[in-house]
Symmetry: C2
Subunit: 211 residues, 2 copies
Amino acid sequence: MKDFRLYVITGEEFHPTRGVVEVMEEAIQGGADIIQLRDKTNSKRVVLDKARKLRELTRKYDVPFIVNDHIDIALAVDADGIHLGQDDMPLHLAREIVGKDKIIGISTHRIQEAREAEQGGADYIGAGPIFPTNSKSDVVDPVTTSYLDEVVSEISIPFVAIGGIKLHNVADVVNSGANRICVISEVVGSGDVKGTCEMFIQKIGEKVNQL
Amino acid sequence: MKDFRLYVITGEEFHPTRGVVEVMEEAIQGGADIIQLRDKTNSKRVVLDKARKLRELTRKYDVPFIVNDHIDIALAVDADGIHLGQDDMPLHLAREIVGKDKIIGISTHRIQEAREAEQGGADYIGAGPIFPTNSKSDVVDPVTTSYLDEVVSEISIPFVAIGGIKLHNVADVVNSGANRICVISEVVGSGDVKGTCEMFIQKIGEKVNQL
Ligand code: NI
């Protein structure tokens, strides 16, 4: 898979008055280089409609498009990949369904989960939540940047740090060895989505405190 | 597809103290000849686990096994088919994903939906809700048996009547031309699941009032 730095996941609850396509387009224009549609509440038909529009958008900008959980929707719109949590379809079954060419990312909260994902053929892992989060995700205690230290030393596939990462704390994450950052609310809930992405990209590029 | 008379859908909220496999096994022993797993609330992993167990059960009894909504799970456990509501994945996309050999059933509430399902290659349709229902399904006004009259006269693929069908009203449905009956709560919430199925089978077989 093409490498990435800034992974933005949809979070429509953080921009109630704006459409998801408009917000994600601004994110891409600001430097988001991989996009995930995450919608665990709406009907398949509604999620499919959003997926189609985001597929069109990401094709236009040549940015990989990932669908969270809904393997069927990922297949229907020919997304580049799927992202699975620990409560979603197990990796080996998902791989059988989507084949070898689709990206599969796995959320991990513990090094054992990271090892299993790597051994199972995941293309990347999410590592987190690093900090407390206000997104509607699985309620898991923050793993802190110490989990990133474990991942850096043990895991060879790409990992993206996720969970409560904001402009004010991203430096800690970058200094723990993360080159890829995943953000939801700080980006999509921003009054300046594009500018916020640009600031993230800048901060990902610089190690703030060389420890 | 093999024809059927008594289609039982899981409704675990109606048997909180008993397991779904135990209840569905009794239904099959009473004459249920097609089984659907319907779970729109639990995580994929939880639904997958139930699907595996029901796949094993239905193989043992040689009864077709249908998964509601979750195409990925249907593929993962090699279910015989999927059932899709009007808010689920559209038929043509679902067919592309599952191929020609899987059964696809479509819920319909209006004759136009029934026509589209037939023209789109559905293997059967659900027609309902005939009566008011206490199942957690899409909230649609009852279509009454007059919808069955339309379906009988216009639609050639198999249809199964669904929605609020109980032992006390099934005769009306059968007299409207339905040879296939779908039941949830009256069966799975019964203190005698097997006996209730046997009574349904008997009532489906006899036209109570020859009009
Ligand atoms: Ni689903």
